[in-house]
């Protein structure tokens, strides 16, 4: 399942603001939940962050989680105007955040999606383009281009 299929245009945002990591997780959980209960996503993402930060370094993080309480995978992508400390190894606050929530039975699929994302964000050109994209539409276009060029 391609990452982009999990990422409808309304979950690509450039207008979120968060004061800290907890606030950011909360915002992402709401975005992922849509009309549903944000607590499911929040708990899943927070559980993973307790094991270790999902910050990849270089200002990028991919918080992710599995939950038995959902049936469909979903994703969100956010660019923050004000970077937030995410506990990443390189100490750099993050401004590019891709969040991923998958059902509990997604195991291999889960890892595959994460690998796809990590590889995408290790490309300096991609992160540069993501940071300079003017709006959410352009942002999603960059992701689309990057993931396609990748595959």
């Amino acid at each position: 399942m391609p990452f982009l299929d999990l990422l409808p245009a309304e979950r690509v945002r450039t207008d979120l603001a968060a004061a800290d990591k907890g606030g950011l997780i909360e915002q992402l959980a709401r975005l992922l939940a849509g009309d549903g209960d944000p607590a499911i996503a929040r708990d899943a993402l927070a559980a993973r962050e307790r094991l270790g930060s999902t910050g990849l370094g270089h200002g990028v993080a991919i918080p992710h989680g599995r939950s038995a309480k959902i049936d469909e995978a979903c994703a969100a992508f956010v660019r923050l105007a004000a970077p937030v400390d995410f506990g990443a190894d390189d100490g750099r606050p993050v401004d590019l955040v891709a969040a991923l929530l998958v059902p509990a039975h997604f195991t291999d699929q889960h890892l595959k999606l994460l690998a796809e994302l990590a590889e995408l964000f290790s490309d300096v050109e991609v992160t540069r383009a993501l940071r300079s994209a003017p709006d959410a539409t352009a942002l999603r276009a960059v992701l689309e281009r990057g993931l396609r060029a990748d595959g």
Partner: protein, 592 residues
């Protein structure tokens, strides 16, 4: 008058050979040919069957030149062997160098009897001649090939290659002596001789090494003379030990190790002078052996010899290595790599000249077969070394990119060395990544001025940073100074995507990602899991595979692993189940 002119001729011809060899090596390096092969081929071209047409069949001279050269090469190899690199590998390498050589020789002799119809003792002699890996070839191909191996694998191969030469020399000379005078030699005699050779060799080496180091510290010798003193003293140890019926090759290697690990003044300088000497020895040795070969007589032995070479590479050595390394905690891929890098070299050909020297029956056949086996090994194994390292995942990724690093030995200190980097703009060190505790900024060169760290302010792009760090860890600084385009990729390659503190429980991580673990590992933390797997030989970059991911030791402290990376082993559309195939193809050719 003629005699006076002859010397010019001889010198001109000899030095021309060396020059041609060095010249062709520059060309050869471009397409990755094993350099030593080039010298062997240049020797053959100059020899009786090549355009050079030089008729050279003086086995005695060859043997003397070979002994001298090998002594210097082994001594130099010993000098460069740091005590720390023995840690964790001394027992397995010792086993490889002794039992491994005997097993390889025995297995090879079986093949030699079948393929060449030699008698049992002659076949065993041939087996011993080709049983040892060649220090010159291994050192050279591993170090100069731009290949950076994980240090346990590298240390195993290097120490083995030095330590097994003396054993092979011993085995060969004993068998040759037995063949020359088979009557009256009993198994007891052989055992006694072995013990004597080993005992006297080791004692002579240790004693000689300590004496040389002590003398070097007391005598006020300057650069050039000091190096000469060192070589002369080593050859003295070599000569005296051999004269006392000890293994001279073992002694000279051992002496090198002892001297290299004592603090000797001006050691870095000595090594660089010695480097030229060692090169010369290797070149001369290969040239002379190439000269001695008579390619037109190789024909009849060619097919059986190639069969023997194939047997040695595919059966003999792998079996011997697996047997010797099985009791120790080597991974399958590590064993595979050590088995593949059974590089034969000048030592094999040199040893093959011993039966000729003693005029044993079938000596020419043994020499020819050994010659072909060495050529085949250099060609096949030498050429595929880098590929094998990548396939088997024993190379440290991307280390060859960091050639911007300059390393300087510090005379008087074996614990630290000076390492210099050009600080790339945007490098991790400039964007807040901390310098590890074991590395210390010594000075900064900025705009041509030398600044002390306390006066320089923070580092800036375009600076040159000089740091003090333990030699074995220096490469781990590379990513801090690399340009961001390379650092990010290199770091992810090496340490994976995510990182965890090592006190996280293995079961928690495994549950989150649905990874397979054994029930008895469930209560362990990540750190304990690594310790259980690697005991006290953990190194940065060590991996534990858990189904579709690898855990990678990312930071260490005195107690073990402190930080663990998690790498998603993905290539293609599936998570890699067949890393062999997947690694064979550059990633851009693999469908995702």
């Amino acid at each position: 008058m003629n005699a006076i002119h002859d010397i010019y001729w001889l010198l001109a011809a000899a030095s021309a050979l060396v020059l041609v060899g060095i010249g062709s090596s520059l060309v050869a390096r471009r397409f990755g040919a094993p350099l030593l092969l080039v010298f062997l081929v240049v020797g053959m071209l100059a020899g009786v069957d090549g355009p050079g047409g030089i008729h050279f069949d003086d086995v005695g001279t060859t043997y003397r030149i070979g002994s001298l050269a090998l002594a210097v090469i082994l001594f130099d190899g010993g000098l460069r062997t740091r005590r720390e690199s023995f840690r964790g590998v001394s027992a397995p390498t010792l086993l490889l160098a002794t039992v491994g050589v005997v097993v390889t020789a025995a297995l090879t002799s079986l093949a030699a009897r079948a393929l060449l119809g030699l008698g049992p003792v002659q076949a065993l002699l041939l087996g011993s001649v080709v049983a040892s890996t060649d220090a010159a070839a291994v050192f050279f191909l591993l170090r100069a090939g731009g290949l950076q191996l994980r240090s346990r694998v590298g240390a195993t191969l290097e120490i083995e290659s030095s330590a097994n030469d003396p054993v092979a020399v011993l085995l060969t000379t004993l068998l040759a002596e037995f063949l020359a005078a088979p009557t009256g030699v009993t198994a007891g005699d052989i055992a006694l001789e072995l013990a004597l050779q080993f005992g006297v060799g080791a004692l002579g080496g240790a004693f000689g090494g300590f004496a040389i180091a002590a003398a070097m510290r007391r005598l006020p010798l300057t650069g050039g003379l000091a190096a000469l003193f060192l070589v002369a003293a080593a050859l003295f140890v070599f000569g005296v030990t051999g004269w006392l019926h000890g293994s001279a090759f073992l002694a000279v290697y051992f002496a090198g190790v002892v001297v290299g690990n004592r603090n000797v003044p001006g050691f870095a300088n000595l090594l660089s002078v010695l480097d030229a000497g060692t090169w010369l020895c290797q070149i001369v040795m290969f040239l002379v052996l190439g000269l001695l070969a008579t390619p037109h007589t190789l024909g009849p032995a060619l097919l059986p010899a190639l069969g023997l070479a194939a047997f040695l590479m595919l059966v003999g050595r792998p079996l011997a290595v697996t047997l010797c390394l099985a009791p120790f905690r080597y991974g399958k891929r590590e064993i595979g790599f050590v088995a593949w890098v059974g590089l034969r070299g000048a030592v094999g050909i040199f040893l093959a000249s011993i039966p000729m020297l003693m005029r044993l029956p079938n000596a020419q056949l043994i020499f020819n077969v050994a010659f072909i086996v060495v050529l085949a090994s250099l060609l096949v194994q030498g050429w595929t070394l880098g590929l094998a390292a990548r396939l088997l995942d024993v190379a440290l990724p991307h280390r060859d990119r960091a050639v911007r690093r300059v390393e300087l030995d510090l005379p008087g200190s074996l614990e630290r060395e000076m390492v210099g980097y050009a600080v790339a703009p945007g490098a991790a060190i400039l964007t807040g990544a901390p310098l590890p505790g074991w590395a210390q900024l010594a000075m900064i060169v900025r705009g041509g001025a030398i600044l002390m760290p306390d006066a320089s302010g923070p580092l800036a792009g375009g600076d040159y940073a000089y740091l003090l760090a333990p030699p074995g860890r220096v490469y781990r600084l590379d990513w801090l100074f690399a340009p961001p385009e390379e650092a990010r990729e290199a770091e992810r390659e090496m340490f994976g995507e995510f990182s965890f503190d090592a006190d996280v429980r293995l079961a928690d991580v495994a549950e989150f990602y649905a990874l397979p673990i054994r029930a008895k590992d469930a209560p362990l933390t990540l750190a304990e899991h690594f310790t259980r797997r690697y005991e006290h030989t953990i190194e940065i970059g060590d991996r534990v595979r858990l189904g579709p991911v690898s855990l990678i030791a990312r930071e260490l402290d005195d107690d073990g692993v402190r930080k663990v990376g998690l790498k998603l082993e993905r290539l293609g559309n599936v998570l890699v189940r067949r890393p062999w195939l997947a690694r064979l193809l550059p990633s851009r050719f693999v469908a995702r």
